[in-house]
Symmetry: C2
Subunit: 214 residues, 2 copies
Amino acid sequence: MSQLARVQSFGVSQDGVGAGENQTLDQPFGEGVDPADLHAWRFATASWPGNALEGSRGLDDYLMHDYDYNIGAEIMGRNKFGPIRGAWQDEEWQGWWGDNPPFHTPVFVLTHHERPSFTLGDTTFHFIDASPAEALAEAKAAADGKDVRIGGGVATVRQFLDADLIDAMHIAVSPITIGKGLRLWDTPQDLEDRFVIESVPSASGVTHHFFWRR
Amino acid sequence: MSQLARVQSFGVSQDGVGAGENQTLDQPFGEGVDPADLHAWRFATASWPGNALEGSRGLDDYLMHDYDYNIGAEIMGRNKFGPIRGAWQDEEWQGWWGDNPPFHTPVFVLTHHERPSFTLGDTTFHFIDASPAEALAEAKAAADGKDVRIGGGVATVRQFLDADLIDAMHIAVSPITIGKGLRLWDTPQDLEDRFVIESVPSASGVTHHFFWRR
């Protein structure tokens, strides 16, 4: 187990929703999901860009800046990369993150519609039509001995969980209920047959759940 | 506040004791302090050397591997470096940590008895006779823009607290009582006039206290 597949700092609501349906350019998290609610805990930390002077330096901040720890590559679903569905209309869309995306590693985007790799800052996006196991093998090979982050969205994390390819997870549950949307789980206990689960309430109202293989 | 002075992952007992009196070669933590008790929580984590397959990957593990996060230099007291008191008998003693000390940065050892710097692995030890403020300025200059860890022991952390030079701290309080020894505080609340304090109980029985400047 020298290289792990890990989910880090993935946010869902009290009822397990991580994103809404019908994602668009204006609603990157889909209908009914406002990142200002679901990810409020991150925005309050010192590690959030621009917050150094004002942000909190408690538990949430540690988990926020840990996001990159020992990560050498990321795998994401196509819907995390962008709102486009079906064939690429053009190849101008380069993701939500501007000139210097926050990954700083190779990123493998799972899609049935391949396109050429490109580099922004120190992040290189590759587009691969592959099974979870194949994608993980490819990402591990690119990760320079480090771990691979399964970056989401919800459907991608579920796909890797269903294929039993996840070694460890940190999921942040925010104290809000969304109701409708893409659901990671009914309760964290759904996973307790395969994972040790540790649940830690934070001062912000978020509960951090840590999972690792039994 | 681009470079902080931080205490990371510093362990004390329920009654605030971090080390015993009369430190010797055989008792690096001094009389009455067994690291197997005071630091048990670290040894159980996946990040502790050799534990990758067996260790826990919950909160304690995150705080264990965070020890190095954005640290560019360490300042330690002479008693953390070794059990020698007074003038150096010889300069053969190179610390407790073998050929590859776990610091991987410049380390500034506060001592009234200077000696030449030396390098082991990617750690370079410098010996300086300086006030806390002078030492911090020197360590910041060597830290390549990163933060400086105030590494201990207890007397050194106290000295930097008393000089109001600490920006943030993580102190791990183990569920044991030691009674006699070198004490960091009577209670964490001693510091609440200057610091926001967040206290998080961990599954291991340890309570992690986070402090940052108000």
